[in-house]
Every structure is written in structure tokens, then in C-alpha cells.
Symmetry: D3
């Protein structure tokens, strides 16, 4: 029995609020149950120095948590003077994932900056971030295409992410914090709308996991990601 009473293959309620803030080209509040993340996509008409003059674009991401998005207050990274290893790991994952569905030549020599800021955390902040950032990026690219008259959509296909794990000996989908902090294994999966894998990151916390367990977890992830992609399609009016 899961703490939330959900079935093992049941996701939390997922919502996307578009245009959540007014300045960014794309701005989405994504909620996976009590996990809430503001995802913005900003279009910048230049690229990092090492990419200049190649006619290609870039997508990169930054991630942060408000100090009191968590049960007890965390130190503010800006005042500590550096980002933790965990933060860097997550923002590298978000950027790498989103780049997998962007055609950099079609984007042209400009950069999409993704910012994912967690305002309330209840497990799965990185998977919610990726899933919400896709929607924000989609909105930003639509505006860009109109404004700059791009002929080809640089985004090909869709992408979403969910966590799966082994909790109390059973494979479960979309772990919340009480599960996450007690899971024996925790796996984050990113897939595209063609059912292919972009990222798989599985970690044994308590006991090592078998090939059979891995397969069960991947089955759950596939189910969850299909639901997330359908939810994205609905909010973006894609079919």
C-alpha cells in the first residue's frame, strides 16, 4: 500500500498552467501532485562563445529550489556561493534531455535558456521540471517562429519524464517524497513520443536490483510517460 493510497501504476494529478508569469517567452507552472515547479523558457539571440559562427543554436537549463520549498529550510545556494553537485547534476540532465528533441540548425544561432525553479517539493522535482520545461519551450518556440519567420519547427516530437522505483518490494510509478526517501531503488526515465529512451538513470539505494525489476520499472515508466505526453498534447492543443 502506497502512503498516498495510489495504485502502483498510478500517477499523481498533473497540471500545466501556461503563461504563469508574464515576461518569459514560455512560462509554465507544472504540478505533479504537491510538487510545483515554475519552468520558463527564454529565447536569447546569441550563443555561448564556443558555438559562435556555426549557424547552430543551443538549449541549456538551470535548476533551483526556493529555500523553503522543502520540509526544513535549505541553505540558499546564491548565498552559499555555489550550486551543489545535486543541482548541477539535475540541470545538466534537463538541458541534455531537451536538446534531444531540438534541431539546432533549424533553431539557428540563438539559445533557449530553461529555468526550472521549485517552489514546493514533494518528490520528483527533476521529472516534473523536464516535463514542464518541454511545454514552456514549446510555447517559446511558437513565439519565436512567428517573430522571426522560421519556416521549420526546430522541435521534433515530444518528451516527458517520470520517476519509478522499488518501494516496499514493489515497482511503483511517480514516487512522492515519503516513497522517494524510503525507496530501495529509484529510477528517472526520459522518453520521447516515439516510446524511445532519452535518459535512464537508475540507482540502488538499499539493495541492488535485478534485471526483472528493471524491466518492471521500465514498463511503468513507459505507461506514465505516455500519460504525460497526452497531457502535454491536451494543454498545447496538439493531436
Amino acid at each position: 500500500m502506497r502512503p498516498s493510497g495510489r495504485a502502483n501504476d498510478e500517477m499523481r494529478q498533473v497540471t500545466f498552467t501556461r503563461d504563469f508569469t508574464c515576461h518569459a517567452e514560455g512560462s509554465v507552472l507544472v504540478e505533479f501532485g504537491n510538487t510545483k515547479v515554475i519552468c520558463t523558457a527564454s529565447i536569447e539571440e546569441n550563443v555561448p562563445g564556443w558555438m559562435r559562427g556555426k549557424g547552430k543554436g543551443w538549449v541549456t537549463a538551470e535548476y533551483g529550489m526556493l529555500p523553503r520549498s522543502t520540509h526544513s529550510r535549505m541553505r540558499r545556494e546564491a548565498s552559499g556561493g555555489k550550486q551543489s553537485g545535486r543541482t548541477q547534476e539535475i540541470q545538466r540532465l534537463i538541458g541534455r534531455s531537451l536538446r534531444a528533441v531540438v534541431d539546432m540548425e533549424a533553431l539557428g544561432e540563438r539559445q533557449i535558456m530553461i529555468d526550472c525553479d521549485v517552489i514546493q517539493a514533494d518528490g520528483g522535482t527533476r521529472t516534473a521540471s523536464i516535463t514542464g520545461a518541454y511545454v514552456a519551450m514549446y510555447d517559446a518556440v511558437q513565439k519565436l517562429m512567428k517573430k522571426r519567420g522560421l519556416k521549420r519547427n526546430p522541435i521534433h516530437g515530444q518528451l516527458a519524464s517520470v520517476s519509478v522505483g522499488i518501494y516496499n518490494g514493489e515497482p511503483v510509478l511517480d514516487l512522492d517524497y515519503p516513497e522517494d526517501s524510503n525507496a530501495e531503488t529509484d529510477m528517472n526515465v526520459v522518453m520521447n513520443s516515439g516510446d524511445h529512451f532519452i535518459e535512464v538513470q537508475g540507482t540502488a539505494e538499499g539493495h541492488a536490483f535485478t534485471r526483472t525489476e528493471m524491466n518492471s520499472m521500465l514498463d511503468l515508466a513507459e505507461k506514465g510517460i505516455r500519460e504525460l505526453i497526452a497531457a502535454q498534447s491536451a494543454v498545447l492543443n496538439l493531436d
Copy 2:
């Protein structure tokens, strides 16, 4: 004529959403028109090293802006490795202001950590932060009093803050971004519910200001702060 069409002595619409996030002892979304700030108050059962063993508490504040809370994206301070001078100035101001209405002995040897995170900026983020942080702190202290059985309320009186300035040669109340970025003079005022001053910070941007202009601005500030204190009272059910 102000860009927003407001009268010179007219504030933007102000709202407080209490319990905006679920983990902090006090959590308020404050809105001054399009300026939106999440203010949380966290109670920590310890004080900084230099205060230990004195039987007194402390209130301190941190401030941040989401990178895309502004028109064009700002660098994330956590990735830049340090907080700007402006950020430090503002968080010192917030902390100093709130301390003015807290009795540190009644609070006891514990700390109230205020976090003000701007999610959308349209001028006046520091005054909105102070005004909203008061409400978050009030909520947090109410919980603390119940939980720890405090007999005396460590908070005495109320406090709010507003900006005033000279725009197009006329004194105006509660500047938004288009005014703020073109004002000749900009002044931030913090007052308590007894109409006394906690902080006055006035800066000539374009031309130096006269004693008469200063008096007009202080009159406007007094009017605005009375309205803000009334709005706080309403949302907190104080009379």
C-alpha cells in the same frame, strides 16, 4: 499622467495569498499589481553563533529574483557564485525592518528566517517583500506561540513599506517599473502602524530633490502605508 492611468496618490491593487506553499510556518504570495513575491517565514530553533546563550532571538532575511522574473533574463546568482550588491542591500533592509517590530526576548533563543523570492517583477519588489513578509512572519509566530506555549506575542504592532518618487516632475505613490526606470527621485519608506518611520531611503536619480518635494513624498508614503496596514489587518483578521 502616469503610464498606468492611476492617480498620483493611488496604489496598485494589493493582495495577500496566505498558505501559498505548504512547508513553511508562514507562506504568503504578495502582489502589488504585477509585482509578485513569495514570502516565507521559517522558525528555526537556534540562533547564529554570536547570539547563543543570551536568551534572545533574531530575525534575518534573504532575497532573490527568479532569473526570468524580469523583462530580459538576469544571471542566476547561484550560478554566478555570489549575490549582487543590490541583493545584499535589499535583504539587509528587509531583515532590519522586520526586527523593528519584534521583541527579541519574547521570541526567545530562536530565529525567524524570512525568504522573499520575486517570481514576477514590475517595480517595488523590496517594498512588496517587506509588506508581505510581515504577514508571513505573523502567521509563523502565531503557530510558534501555540506550539511552544509562548505567553507574550513577540510581534508588537504592524509594519508595511511603499515606494514614492518624483515622476515627470510630480510626486507619485507606488511606482511600477515604467515609472521606476524613469523617475527623477525614488524613495522607499517603511513605517509602523503608529505612523512612525522605520526606514527612509531616498535617492536622486536625475535631479536633486528639495525639502518640499521630500515632504510631498513622505505624505504620499504615509497614505499608502496606512492602506497597506489596513489590507494586512483585513487578511489577518486584526482590528
Copy 3:
């Protein structure tokens, strides 16, 4: 009765020693009683990146305290690896104040770097810094005008700064350290030679202050600044 025996509206003895060090274009040792600050103004024939190509100049300031300028030794900021919030606040104030009397187009595309280094502190280091930095900047600009053949003096008018406060319930002028550390209210005022305000920064330390108290303090500030501007005029042979 003030600890120093001064009358409430009496300033400490103020002296300016020009050409205090030999390399800077302007170099002044300013003394407000026992507070001693070396102020230098350096002319640099370039501007920060964001200002290039606009035909305008810039004035900026840095502030520091020698580790043993104070009663007990402070940590050296260079070895600590960063400047404190207080330091940044002060150097932003100095730069902002001096910019108010400089015509950036007449200055041309070059920068005036002000350095204020406190060698002995007894209260009022920021107001002494601003007042002394004006003299150093004046000297540096005179040399610049000769060397580069500037036709118009980029400096318009004079500027000085003094602190006022409420000490033992009475408004006093130019607080020294024993007063500063016990004042109920502390206000730093910057005014120009036309009796207009450049900056007003008032902070209630112990009790909030009234409009009447504010007016008394501003009267004292006006008196003190007139005396400082007269002293600057005397040492610079202005009339």
C-alpha cells in the same frame, strides 16, 4: 550631553590633506575628528563594457577598511574572499552620490575610479568618504581638463555628506562611534551646494522616529553640509 562634549549641532574638526599620496590623479586624506579616510580618484581612459561607444563617462567607487582601523581587528575582506554587504552598500552609495554632480557627456568616454580606504574609524566613515572623495575627484578632474584639453568642467556644483541621529532622545549632528553605536536613529544625508538632497538614508535602530524628529535631523544635516561645503571651497580655493 554628548560623550565628546560637543553641542548638538556641532561638527567634529574637519580637515582635508590634498596630494596625500603621489600616484593618484587626486589623493586626499579626509579627517572628521578621529575618523581618517584616504580618498583617491583615478582617471582611466576606458569605460565598462556595457557603456562603450556611447560617448559618455562613468564614476564608480570602492570602499575598504584596514583590518585594524577599528577597535578590535576585523577580518581582511581580501583574505575572506568577498566584500561584506555593508561594504557593498557603502561603495554603491559613494558612487551614486558622486555621479549626481558629474556630467557624463562632458567627461567623455572615460572612467573616474574612486577608492575610499579607512585607516582609522570613529563613526561616520561613509559620510567622510563622500565628502573627501569629492575633493579628490575635483583635483583629478582639474588635471584631466588640462591634460586632455576639456573645454567644459564635467563637475557641476559641490556635494558633501554628514550623519545625523537621535542620541539620548535629542537630535545630534555628525555622530562619532560612541554615539553611533548607541543612537536610536541614524541618518546619512548627502546634499549639494544648492541645498538639495542627493541621498537620505534613515534607519530606526531602537525606536521608530516621528516626522518631527526627521525634520530636526534634516535641519541639522543642512547646517553641517553647508559647513562641509565651505571647508571644501576653502581648501580648493573656490568661492
Copy 4:
């Protein structure tokens, strides 16, 4: 055809040189072909602050590359002032992996510090690091058991790591640098001697990968890790 001429399921030559340096409790030079890493394990008789007094130990790791371990010289992280996100990601992976085979209560309140320093890089530095660090840790723990009279070996089972990927459309084992920099998918796998997974980290570089490709890669990883565990057993005289 692989650049090295190896069969798709063929590992590079792997060697372990024990006691490579003289001061560390465990010191191993591990070579996966041209990739060479010095792995040391240091026993420290204390634990991080947050673990004190719990009677349990800890294992943590740090990772670095000599500036000229790579084709072109990389910036030295110590002079740059911080470790890159990649470095942090790798050292977190190494530490987390090794902790999976250590019984922290049997270890007692002490810490094993692992250092993996790449002196020559040709792909797979993180998998070589984990595989070599196990041997160094084993040696260090043997010495510790003798010195401190530990009754139970805190290390349970063995652990090794290898990379697999899709190169030119085919699953391959143990990628060297020319393969790694052109692979369509890259996966690092850590397994224990019971054929269970500790970590799986797969990333699509060029095209997303299918479940079938994932299974082929996991088959290869299992084969490679069995060979590595056999090689560890041989050099450590385990059976």
C-alpha cells in the same frame, strides 16, 4: 568495425597495479587500455559532522583529471576555483556505488576517502575509477581489519563498472575515446558480483534508443562486468 579492431563484446586489456604509491592504505593504478587512473583509499578515524555519534561509517569519493591527461590541455580545476558539474557528477557516482557494498555498521565510526585521479584518458574514466577504487578500498579495509581487530569484513561482495553504447548502429562494450565521442548512445553500468544492478545511467547522444537496444547493451555490460570481477578476484587472490 570498431576503431580499435576489437569485437563488439570485447573489453580492452585491464590491469591493476596494487601498492602503486606508498602512503595510502590502498593504492591501485587501474588501466583499461590507454585509460589510466590512480585510485587510493584512505582510512580516516572520523566521520562528517552530520554522522557523528551514530556508530556508523561512511565512504565518499573525489575525482580529478590531470590537466594534460587529455588530448588538449584542460583547465586545472584547483586554479579555476571550482569543480565542474561533470566532476561532481562522477565523484558522486563513485561514492554512491562503493557505498552499496559496504556495511557501515561493521565499518564503525570512520570514513573511507576514495581519490580517483586520471593520469591518462582514453574513454571510460569513470568506469575504470569505480572498478579500480574497489580494489584500493579492499586493500585498505584489509589493513584496517588487522590494525583495529575488526571481526567482520565491512565489504560484502564485489562490484565493477563498464560502459556500453551504440556505435555505428551496433551495441559495443567498453568504449574508448574515439567511440565515446561519436556514440549514439552511451551507458555506464555498475553491477555487483551477484549480477545485480547498482547503477544504470544511459544517455541518448544522437538518437533515442529502443528497449531492444537497451537490452543488448545490458547483456554486454553483464558480460564485461563478470570479466572485471574475475580480474579483481585474480589480483586480490579471492576465489
Copy 5:
């Protein structure tokens, strides 16, 4: 012929101004010609963590240059966020030298913090710093002995420092900036009042130097240091 017209074995005029600032236990302005350094010695009643409980004291030093102590303005190290290699080298040299004349057991478990801040630089700032810091430390220790009733003077003997070099092919004493920046060899020597060496640091700038040249330079250094020690004795009323 030297730029200053001095004879090859002639020092610049040397002066010590004691009690230059009022807060430090020892405070000396030392001048070697146009090189001016404020040296303060602060007594702190504690020692660094690694020395606690051993009944011994410590002497350490920090060094800095005001940004405009030099011909063109240097970046302020506090705003740059770190001390340069040169600064660290110099402050390590100052501390190490002064420790050579202090009996740490007689000092007791307290620390002498030396600060050397260059307000005007014209070559030889490190040798002036050491020579002046001795006087400041002497004054501070005299006060300490009285205040704490120390029976034995922790300072044994005297110590001074001077630079020597090869300029235009000839050995010269006490190089000023024009010489220093063109010298073929530059050597800093620290000696005690017994004519013994504490430190010798010689560097070939343009051409390598011979044993004969080294001997000539050491002869000059010995002469200069004897004069400096005599000047210290005069100002401190030692015989």
C-alpha cells in the same frame, strides 16, 4: 649612476612613525623613501584551532596594497575575490620572518596579527613591511607584557630586511621602483641583530648571477640591515 643619484651602498631615508593609528596595540608608519607602509600589530587572546591547548603562541601576517598605491590603479583584491600569488608569498614571508625572533612559549597561548598595508609604493614594500612590522610588534608586546604581567619578553633580538640587486651590472642596496623594474637580479634579505640570516630570496630577472655577485649583494644587505637595526633601536630607545 642610480636614478636617484644615491651611492651603490646608500639606503633611502628611513623613518618610523609610532602610534600612527590609535586602535592597534602597535601601529607604525614606515617609510623607505617614497615607499610608505602602515604596519599594525594586534594582540588576540586566542590561537588558530590547530594550536589550541599547547600553551604556545603564534605570529601571522597579512599584506595588502591600496589600489592606487601604485603608478596605475591595481584591482582591489577584496572585490576580485582572492589574494594574488604575490600577496600570499609576501605575507607568508613577513609572518615567517617575525616568528624567527619570537619565543612562542614566552608569548603564551595568544596570537600576534600583523597587518602591512602599503599606502604608497616605490619598490621594496616587502622589506619595509618586515622592518616596520618589527617595530609595531615590539610596541604591542611591550603593552602586552604590562597588561598581562609577562615576566619574560617573548621577543629575542631584532630583525630587519632590505633588498639588494644587480642594476646596470653593479650591486646596489635598497632598490627603488625604477631600479627594481629594470634590475637583472633582485634579492630580499632578512637578518637579525646577530648578523645571521633569517631569509634569503634571490631571483635572476634578466641574467643568471654568479657566486661573486651573490657575495657582493650579501655584503650590501648586511650593511643596510645594520643601519636599519640601528634606526629601530633609536626609535624604540634600545641600546
Copy 6:
């Protein structure tokens, strides 16, 4: 009697292993007994900003120690966020020394980056670094001359370095760690193949040293350096 049983004027066994790693233009493992340092020389086809356009080259060096190259583990400088004063002092010494035998105009507008990484420390790491770096630089320059068709060898002459000291009252050559940590005086000497001095850095640790002692140490250094230069010649096939 020295701890190692060596005669006072006897060096440890010295070996150079060329081409120790495969990527750097020059790569040498140098061993002075148990002290082992990897020295690499990298040719970079650009110079620091302040040298551009002058047609001259540059040589610079960085130095590091693996955390467990020492008896007890040292903190990794990259994770600590800065290089220690000792590290900076050493790398400045290495760079300065090597520049003394390079003709920067013959080198042309390119840079030689030297990296010295200590993998095992037993005293004398800086002198071994300089001596080994010379060999690595020589190899790198030979490759550069062929690749770029340089007509003149930018390296003129040879250079080596050794430590000398006073141990148990007697002058000794090439101190190992047990001697180094107990020496009364420690001196590092860098000389060229013409018996001239490049650097002399002597420090009294326990007691100040006399001119006679200094001369004895310099005699030993000269003997040691001649042997090191002969060993370099042998391995590089110079005569």
C-alpha cells in the same frame, strides 16, 4: 648520520621516464628517491591577453599534489575552491625558473604550459618538479621545432634544482621528508649549466644561519645540480 644513511653530499637516486603519458608534447615522470612527480609540457598556440601581438612567447607553470601523495591525506584544492599560498609560491617559482632558459622571441607567440603533479611526496617536490619539467619542456620544444620549422632552439642551456639544508648542525644535500621536517635551515637552489644562479631561497626554520653555513650549502647545491644536469644530458642524449 642522515636517516637514509646517505653521505652529507649524496643525492638520492634520480630517474627520468620520458613519454610517461601519451597526450602531452612532453611528459616525464621524475623521481628523486621516493618523491615522484609527473611533469608535462603543453604547447599552446596562443599567449595570455596582455602579451598578444608582441611576437614573443611565454612559459608558465601549475603545480598540484594528489590528495594522498602525502603521509596523511590533504584536502583536494579543487574541492576547497582555491590553491594554497604554498601551491602558488611553488608554481610561480617553477615558471620563473624555466623562463630563465627560454628565449621568448625564438619561441614565437605561443605558450608552454608546464604541469607538475606530485603523485608521491618525500621531500623536495619543488626541486624535482623544476628538474623534471626541464626535460619535459625540452622534449616538447623539440617536437615544436620539427612541426613548425623553427630555426633556432628557444631553449638556451640547461637548468636544474636541488634542496640543501642544515640538519643536525651539518650541511646536507637533497633533503628527504624526515630531514626536511626537522631541518634548522632549508634552501632551494636553481642553477643553470653555466654554474650561475637562477633562484636562491633560504629559510631559517629553527635558528638563523651564518654566512659560513650559507657558503657550505651553496657548495653542496652546486655539486648536486651538476649531477642533475649530467643526468638530464644522459637521458636527452645531449653532450
